[in-house]
């Protein structure tokens, strides 16, 4: 579904953001990156990351401690 998926489960700040930044480089313009994380801090962080970098956070959800984010590369 997403162009790329990043498994950031078990990783703590700032790794989810840093790895997402790296993974986004492989995503084509207007493509999507799905990130799966267990760090609750990642929710606010990904919102801030997207606001700051101009990428779009399409959706985010949580299921039993697993957070999923879908980012569209619009920057």
């Amino acid at each position: 579904m997403a162009d790329h998926t990043l498994d950031a489960k078990g990783l703590n700040c700032p790794l989810p953001i840093l790895k997402a930044r790296k993974a986004l480089k492989e995503v084509p313009d207007n493509g999507t990156l799905e990130i799966i994380a267990t760090d609750p801090g990642a929710v606010a962080d990904f919102e801030a990351f997207c606001r700051q970098t101009g990428n779009e956070l399409l959706e985010h959800s949580e299921d039993d401690g697993i957070y999923t984010f879908l980012i569209k590369k619009t920057a």
Partner: protein, 162 residues
């Protein structure tokens, strides 16, 4: 869409394992968010540029250091930190905790900073003072003095002293 580009500089003055984290986390995250970052390593921060990092932490004089142990947060009385091996033991404990919780190591964060093109400057005066050799440091660093840092700072929007 994205905010106008801000930049950041950080003066890194401490080099223990715990104090190495704030500058590297802030620098790498800022770089990941598109900010150009400069780190100026001086005094006890300079050893953070050594190829071979042997970072330690001590509970001495650090009443806020209480690590999770046996279901509680436990600190260590200052007197006990004077016993040989205790600091090394605390450092090992801290590193194990960091690994267990999926927190990046300083080596990893530093590699990411280099990869993100964070500019790292080693303080020339500190290198002379404590007799550090450039060949013992990681590749790609600049060397400069206070004026070099001040110039960076005048151009950066965010200047941090850590």
């Amino acid at each position: 869409m994205s905010a106008e580009e801000k930049s950041m500089s950080i003066i890194v003055t401490k080099g223990s394992l715990d104090w190495a984290y704030p500058p590297f986390i802030l620098a790498t995250t800022a770089a990941a968010m598109g900010l150009p970052v400069t780190m100026f390593f001086t005094f006890y921060g300079l050893p953070l540029l050594l190829k071979d990092l042997k970072l330690q932490v001590t509970a001495a004089g650090n009443p806020a250091m209480k690590l999770p142990m046996m279901g509680m947060h436990m600190g260590l009385p200052n007197l006990l930190t004077a016993i040989p091996g205790v600091d090394a033991g605390c450092s090992v404990m801290m590193k194990n905790l960091i690994k267990k919780k999926g927190v990046a190591s300083i080596d990893e964060l530093r590699d990411m900073a280099v990869e993100a093109e964070v500019r790292m400057i080693a303080c020339q005066m500190t290198m002379d003072l404590f007799e550090y050799d450039k060949k013992d440091m990681i590749e790609g660093i600049d060397i400069g003095g206070a004026a070099t840092y001040i110039e960076c700072a005048t151009q950066a929007d965010i200047n941090l002293f850590i």
